[in-house]
Amino acid sequence: MSARYDAIVVGGGHNGLVAAAYLARAGRKTLVLERRPVLGGAAVTEEVFPGFKFSVFSYVVSLLRPEIIRDLDLPKHGLQILPLESTVTPLENGDYLASWADPDETRRELCRHSPRDADAAVVFGRLMHHMAMAVKPILGMVPPDPASLSPGDLAGLLKLGGHFRSLGPERFHALHKLMTMSSADYLDEWFEFDGLKATKSASGIIGTFLGPRSPGSAYVLLHHYMGEIDGAFRAWGFQKGGTGAISETIARAARAHGAELRTGAGVERVIVRNGRATGVALSSGEEIAANLVISGLDPRLTFTRLVETRELPSELVDGIRRYKFRGSSGKVNLALSGLPSFACTPGEGPHLRGAISISPSIDYLERAYDDAKYGEFSRHPYMDIVIPSMIDPGMAPPGNHVMSVFVQYAPYALNGGWNDAKREAFGDAVVRTLARYAPNIESLILHRQVLTPHDIETITGLSEGNIFQGELALQQLFFLRPVPEWAKYRTPIQGYWQCGAGTHPGGGIMGASGRLAAMEILRAA
């Protein structure tokens, strides 16, 4: 079997597409194989209801790496990120807390609730800025192995040490606290207004099976500030046409560099001969040869489904078995005949162009988590809501709207398992909770799409419906992602590589895993 391709990428998610684009750009004959009829993995736009387009799963762009935008000239291929400027949190007392694009407006708003917090927010922001500056280079770095004495690893560790030393003691201590504390405790050290703490800590629990009072949840607060460092690039917001349009943009760049992309081509297994990957077998029976096979799938699928586990060291297989997915979130997509009116600020207004966060208090979030801890979906969940049609009118027919509701918690391992009735009950809980804040919502719903972690797994393949290909928890980040010693995109099988969000740094439509994997592959060649 002569190799027809230099590289085959299994899975056309955004990281797989990024990896393919970089490989093709370097002259490698590259093929991407996607099981679904549509490219993008969890970054897809689909017309779920006639005339209404949804970013079905992932719905905003936050940390898409500027170097990828530049290297692949994504604007030329259709990247168009529109500003998503505000966050409004309706509170349980009927008031709200808003954060606007203008710092003075945001400050005045915060002063309404706590003048002390308004001052604290400035100093807090500066501290987080410095820590994000120190941590951010890690996003562009192949994780060094701290247990290794190889020159490359030592150089990486030295570089890392340099970053942290430059923080100075005060910030280094703060970083240590961030890494170990819960977001609720950490924010308690800074702020008094509960609505503010809840909304800030909400960003720390997204996609994890942690509550705001769980240790380790503080760290993810940093991610928000990492996005702000790239603020000049203005790559934070809403892609025109939804997140699927980002995947299409990357796909166009990959094709322009000569990559071949096939949809409706599910890979059954990676062919391994004498400890070396030599190609893939499709579920259709077709076999395609390649010098390299790169899996964009999550670690469980990469290591235990695409290849036979007997090809791998038992420690690795066991590590993958213990790697935590525990999908904890669902998604409700609503087609609306008009705009919702929020009781805290009725009618139309700029708040409908930004995010609406249902995170009125730390207790509210923790109670939502309590339900999940014991195997139930939250009766009153945390929700991150956007109305994309307010920003990109092309998402819905004129006068109508689409609403994207990210919902947490919805445990994958629901008591009694997920079924149609449970799905509808979950959807009802979401709409009912929403109606507490936007009483007219029910009368506007033309169509409702409810996606449980089980549905996310079934449709996209993401194990246990985890949106990050495995929890973004400290014990599975950086040189531990997905497992120690195999965090550099390699696998024990020669010519078999990983490039999905289950590798460092993972998470969100960042593309960093795909880029770093491709660069590591090219370096190894």
């Binding site: 990247l79 168009q80 400027e85 203008d102 003075d104 407006e105 000049a232 990109d392 009118p393 109508n400």
Partner: protein, 395 residues
């Protein structure tokens, strides 16, 4: 007191941060939001409504109206058909640009001229011996620019007519909610777009009608800041920012010919005699000493200056209008006059005057930037204008 536009009663309450600016003696909105990001985005993503009433406007009639304009502008008036619009510069006898604007053939031998600066004296000077009427209609006519990919949908809906037949740089008359308007497929954004001309007394009603029709299409009022970013992406020159009018320039070196400011395409040097013909023919034969081009700043070289201070890169979301020296091999070869971060192209752009032979596309140059109080030279590359030219602009 500055003058206000006929749309002022509607625009003024929308200017949330009181960000006003002067434009031809008028008080106009820089932006309605504190920052122009969303307004700019509307130009490229949906539809934006921009008040461009401060433009000077003249109605020219009489038997010799076309002859007057032909003597004045650099394009050939004999080819301007009824319902057609020209964008054109006009020059003094030395071929130096006085102003740039549009000429519309209104039909029936009448024309409308728009200009950035008052042009009444120049029109009269050129009308000696001609049978023409010249009316300054600047204050009688309000103008709105409706720009963006959905502008045609909004306007077709408002005017109750299908505007897909209206070609680029053509004009049609119609009504919007019984308000007589002229609609031209023109603009200052390099996108699909229209300008709507209306009797000042009906301006407010027109604004309301358009805003109403734009509901559901993301129609967003947009100020000068938002438009400025779009016009830089589109490589469109601005008088008193990118060049000086020959009538304002205090010294000779501040004057430019059309060839020097990328408007050579609008010079019909072989037509009947017109102001500057001899000088422009000579320059065409000789080749211009300067050219007006795009510069694309290399992001990594720019980011390095910030990193040296431990800072993330910082760029204003408002376009800059200042002179920045441009170097090649440590010799100054020109200067940039305006620039911006392009939120769409994700690039830092500038418009620059470069001396021959340094203006060929692809030429590597250095642009002076100030980072943390220090002057630095960022790598940049000469690009052909426009930076951004979507198909829909002319389609």
């Amino acid at each position: 007191m500055l003058k206000t536009s006929p749309f002022h009663p509607r625009t003024a309450p929308l200017v949330r941060a009181q960000t006003w600016r002067r434009w031809a003696g008028h008080q106009m909105a820089s932006a309605y939001d504190p920052y122009p990001d969303r307004e700019y985005a509307a130009i490229r993503n949906a539809a934006a409504l921009i008040d461009v009433s401060p433009l000077y406007k003249y109605r020219i009639g009489g038997r010799d109206a076309a002859r007057l304009l032909d003597r004045m502008i650099t394009r050939d008036m004999r080819k301007l058909k009824p319902g057609q619009v020209y964008y054109t510069p006009w020059c003094d006898d030395q071929g130096k640009v006085i102003d740039d604007g549009t000429v519309t053939n209104l039909g029936g031998g009448a024309f409308r001229l728009t200009s950035a600066d008052s042009s009444l004296r120049w029109l009269h000077m050129n009308a000696v011996g001609l049978d023409v009427t010249i009316e300054d209609i600047s204050e009688r006519v309000g103008a709105l620019s409706l720009q963006g990919p959905l502008s045609r949908d909004v306007l077709s809906r408002a005017a109750g007519m299908d505007l897909s037949a209206l070609k680029y740089f053509r004009m049609v008359e119609g009504t919007i909610r019984d308000i007589p308007v002229a609609i031209s497929r023109t603009g200052y954004t390099g996108d699909l777009g229209f300008e709507i001309w209306v009797e000042a007394g009906r301006a407010v009603a027109l604004w309301d009608a358009l805003m109403e029709a734009g509901r559901g299409y993301g129609l967003t009022p947009c100020g000068v800041w938002g438009m400025d970013i779009a016009r830089i992406e589109a490589g469109l020159i601005m008088m008193d920012v990118d060049y000086f009018s020959a009538h304002h320039a205090l010294i000779e070196s501040r004057k430019s010919t059309p060839y020097e400011i990328n408007l050579g395409w609008a010079v019909s040097a072989d037509k009947e005699p017109f102001n500057g013909r001899r000088a422009l023919r000579a320059e065409r034969a000789r080749g211009p000493a300067w050219s007006f081009v795009g510069l694309e700043v290399d992001w990594e070289s720019f980011e390095r200056f910030f990193r040296a201070h431990g800072l993330p890169p910082q760029i204003s979301n408002i376009a800059w209008r200042a002179s920045a020296p441009v170097y090649r091999a440590s010799r100054q070869v020109g200067y940039a006059t305006s620039g911006c971060w392009s939120p769409l192209l994700k690039k830092s752009l500038a418009l620059a005057h470069l001396r021959a032979p340094h203006f060929a596309p692809g030429t590597p140059v250095k642009l002076e930037v100030t980072v943390e109080h220090r002057r630095e030279l960022a790598d940049a590359v000469v690009r052909k204008l426009p930076f951004y030219d979507p198909e829909r602009k002319k389609a």
